[in-house]
């Protein structure tokens, strides 16, 4: 149903004409996030520039029962910011000020539109930085990071967004402003801060974030180890962790990824290796020296055919250059790619990679693997060609199979990208009907009418049944006593 003229007019009164977008050409900018395979042109986009405007807008949407999709920088990879028909997109890009950097308490208070990388830039004069570093950090916003509980290369040692946020201010659909968390390290009652982080815009709109800043480490070292098989690289990852090392980053690239990036940035990677590991160690110089020595011993013991140590800062950057340009490099060898995001127990790495390659072969597609091996977070890139009819659908099916494999080996369908629109079907595989119903009841405690980012993150039981993912016995859904949505 199109939005009523009266509603649109009230938005204009609240925000002024310049912050309300309704012409078809400009609306198209907001039709998708970074998962561009799914698109929906929004009916209206509003761009508030203050907390008061967000509160007024949400109150208005609540009165008119208009669905709201919050959007940060639009860099999400799961379609979390995909517009919904008959709703509005609430863009937070105009709220992009760093409100305070507090070096004494090692924290920074930010509006949601502040770019991830800008936080570390502002903290740098104090010798501090913000640790979570999703690969889109140059563009992605902290509000979006909070909504998705974003990770990055350094999560293994420094945690996800949830481990690095002290407080958020959340506007509810009724327009109430809630403070979750506090100036200290915990909050009274339920830990709503942890609940809100990663809630994908289903519980409220985040309008202010206070993050924890960490001291910049005096030294960083990167090791590059090459292996003759992916299995050996996987075993080396497990061995490093079992020995008690906590690298700042531990990344794995398979041969396809090595070749693609080498052709693109000439990082000097060994192109004949089946896999390489990049192992970053940071801390006091003596600690880094001790850890590097230990890591080299373990890598040697685990059949590394070559181990290089970055001798200086330019070489360290070169080692990382390949990893950091892996996605665009893959973009050069395939017209399109679809990036998946499952997490598995580390011990399953080799077995899962083998099975992914077999599954890809069976459906005639190629997969490139470059991922956060240290925490078992896979990012298989499925190559396809959007110009070929049915090719994306094939990639979509393979992607689904990969995620279901992750669940089958004891892992999860998403490590850091979120469920969004993309992984709804796999949510029905990972969770039972009663668990999904519990999620819906929890959502209703915040949003009784289901207006915040409807249809995302948590599938309805109805949808699971339609997709054939709920086990239907003699025509009866399990748990017939549960409410259906």
């Amino acid at each position: 149903m199109p939005l009523s003229a009266a509603f649109v007019q009230q938005c204009r009164v609240l925000l002024g004409n310049r912050q309300v977008i309704s012409d078809p050409e400009s609306l198209r900018v907001y039709e998708c996030d970074a998962l561009s395979a799914y698109r929906q042109v929004p009916d209206l986009v509003v761009l508030p520039d203050s907390v008061a405007q967000v509160r007024a807008l949400l109150k208005l949407c609540n009165q008119h029962s208009i669905p709201v999709v919050a959007r940060g920088a639009g860099t999400g990879l799961s379609g979390g910011a995909l517009p919904v028909s008959g709703g509005i997109v609430l863009g937070l890009s105009k709220m992009n000020r760093i409100l305070a950097v507090d070096p004494l308490n090692c924290s920074a208070t930010l509006q949601p539109g502040v770019r991830n990388l800008a936080i570390s830039a502002a903290a740098k004069p104090y010798g501090l930085y913000y640790a979570p570093d999703p690969s889109s950090q140059i563009a992605c916003s902290i509000g979006g990071n909070v909504a998705e509980n974003a990770g990055g290369v350094h999560c293994l040692k420094y945690g996800l967004t949830v481990h690095n946020v002290l407080q958020i201010k959340l506007v509810t659909l009724e327009g109430r402003l809630l403070t979750l968390g506090g100036s200290g390290l915990d909050m009274p009652g339920y830990d709503l801060l942890a609940l809100a982080i990663g809630s994908e815009g289903l519980l409220g709109v985040v309008v202010e974030i206070t993050v924890r800043l960490l001291p910049l480490q005096p030294q960083t070292q990167v090791l590059l180890a090459a292996f003759a098989s992916v299995e050996q690289a996987g075993a080396a990852v497990a061995a490093l962790i079992a020995d008690g090392l906590t690298p700042a980053g531990l990344e794995l690239m398979d041969n396809a990824a090595i070749r693609a990036t080498e052709a693109f940035v000439h990082a000097g990677y060994p192109v004949n290796a089946a896999a390489i590991l990049l192992c970053e160690l940071d801390g006091m110089p003596e600690q880094v020296a001790a850890d590097s020595q230990r890591a080299i011993g373990i890598l040697q013991h685990n059949a590394a055919v070559e181990i290089r140590t970055a001798s200086d800062e330019p070489e360290r950057r070169r080692f990382w250059a390949g990893r950091k340009s892996a996605f665009p490099a893959v973009g050069r060898i395939a017209s399109d790619y679809y990036c998946m995001d499952g997490t598995i127990p580390r011990k399953q790495l080799a077995c899962v990679l083998q099975r992914i390659s077999a599954m890809a072969e069976a459906c005639g597609l190629s997969v490139v693997n470059v991922f956060h091996a240290g925490d078992g977070n896979l990012h298989p890139l499925i190559l396809y060609d959007a110009r070929i009819r049915g090719d994306f659908e094939k990639a979509e099916v393979l992607g689904g199979q990969i995620l279901e494999l992750c669940v089958a080996v004891g892992g999860t369908i998403t490590g850091e990208h979120g469920v969004g629109h993309e992984k709804l079907a796999q949510m029905c595989v990972q969770f039972q009907a009663a668990e999904l119903a519990q999620f819906h009841r929890l959502k209703r405690a915040f949003d009784p009418f289901g207006l915040l980012n409807p249809g995302k993150a948590i599938p309805t039981l109805h949808r699971c049944a339609e997709l054939g993912h709920l086990h239907v016995h003699h025509g009866q859904l399990p748990h017939p006593e549960l409410e259906r949505f």
């Binding site: 924290s107 949830v162 519980l203 997490t343 011990k347 969770f431 519990q438």
Partner: protein, 351 residues
């Protein structure tokens, strides 16, 4: 460690309470009965026998155990593989269980540097207030599928469900610990704590007991030797004992009679204008106060600095925790989403 699965039995007890309109007091090792508000339920739901480790592989750095498992037993198992619970929870002379520790959300001195109980929580199995057994989260480090119910369970005092199992990330034991101590005033201790926390020292503890500021450093021996040369303070040979006793709340301060408050504020907050005996932990972010001041004054002082206060131990728990009205309403709705009949621990968190 014992190994016994009484999950179905516990579920039956919950279902019976649901049917009869009863309420249950969830009890593990009964080591933290002093904590929280007055629980109106008489009938016990005893989780202590539901115990044992379900899965632990050191190379995964994840342990999954039943809620009745003793923290001390888990710590011993982990220590055998040079691993530990990174949030250093108290084990209360061996009585504390995994479930009770998570339900209370207690974390020890390492918390600001390594993370809190909720930070290490990866997944759980619970019984909700409808008697359903549900699984949330998982056994892997990174998992953003669905709402983070596992972390919501931490500190909820059992009011969102009975914890049956939990999966926690564990950490390697540092190669060496070193404690440096120096005598100073509270103000000096606070400014020193701030100064240190903004610099990349390998800190794992920072506390002031009213007399001495102690900092703990953890890492490779060569690194600690180098760091110790650059920092003020003398090596404290009894350091390990101190941190252990602080974690267990066994040092002299915790033996004082009277009411004990736990105040959580930004670490650089100036000494609070409150009368009583104090102890600083967490680099200044956690302030213990033994006082007979009225609850209202303590809540107000914490709130004035953007923090909060909890009456941790005391006779009068009528005003032990405060939530503003919007937050209280939301939290009550969340409780009802999990436990619509308020079967679990009524009154323990809020009435």
């Amino acid at each position: 460690m014992h190994d016994l699965d009484i999950g179905t039995q516990l579920q039956q007890q919950v279902l019976q309470a649901v049917e009869t309109g009863g309420a249950l007091r969830i009890v593990g090792g009964d080591s933290k009965a002093f904590y929280g508000g007055h629980c109106a339920a008489e009938a016990w739901l005893n989780t202590a026998d539901h115990c044992g480790v379900i899965d632990y592989q050191p190379s995964e750095q994840v342990i999954t155990a039943r809620a009745g498992s003793r923290i001390a037993d888990i710590a011993e198992l982990l220590a055998g593989h040079r691993q530990m619970l990174g949030f250093e929870p108290p084990d209360y002379t061996g009585q504390a269980t995994l479930g009770g520790t998570l339900a209370c959300g207690f974390s020890g001195p390492r918390r600001p540097f390594a993370g809190s109980a909720r930070d290490f929580m990866l997944g759980c199995k619970i019984i909700n207030g409808r008697g359903q057994i549900l699984n949330f989260g998982g056994r892997v480090m990174k998992n953003v599928a669905g709402f983070d119910v596992s972390r919501l369970m931490v500190g909820a005092l059992g009011t969102t469900g009975v914890l049956l199992e939990a999966s926690l990330r564990v950490l390697p034991v540092p190669e060496t610990d070193l404690t440096l101590a120096c005598a100073c005033t509270e103000q000096q201790a606070l400014s020193r704590m701030q100064q240190l926390s903004g610099q990349p020292w390998p800190l794992s503890g920072s506390a002031y007991d009213g007399e001495y500021l102690r900092i703990r450093l953890s890492g490779a021996e060569t690194a600690l030797t180098a760091v110790a040369k650059q920092l003020a303070g003398d090596a404290d040979p009894a350091g390990d004992r101190f941190w252990h006793d602080l974690r267990e709340q066994r040092i002299g301060f915790f033996q004082l009679p009277g009411t004990l408050w736990r105040i959580s504020v930004a670490p650089a907050t100036a000494p609070l204008d409150l009368v009583g005996r104090g102890l600083l932990d967490w680099g200044g972010a956690l302030r213990w106060l033994n006082t007979d001041m009225p609850a209202a004054a303590i809540h107000a002082a914490a709130a004035a600095h953007g923090g909060h206060a909890i009456c941790y131990r005391g006779e009068d728990k009528s005003d032990w925790l405060r939530l503003d009205s919007d937050l209280l309403g939301l939290q009550q709705n969340i409780r009802l989403a999990f436990d619509p009949l308020s079967v679990f621990n009524p009154g323990r968190l809020f009435s």
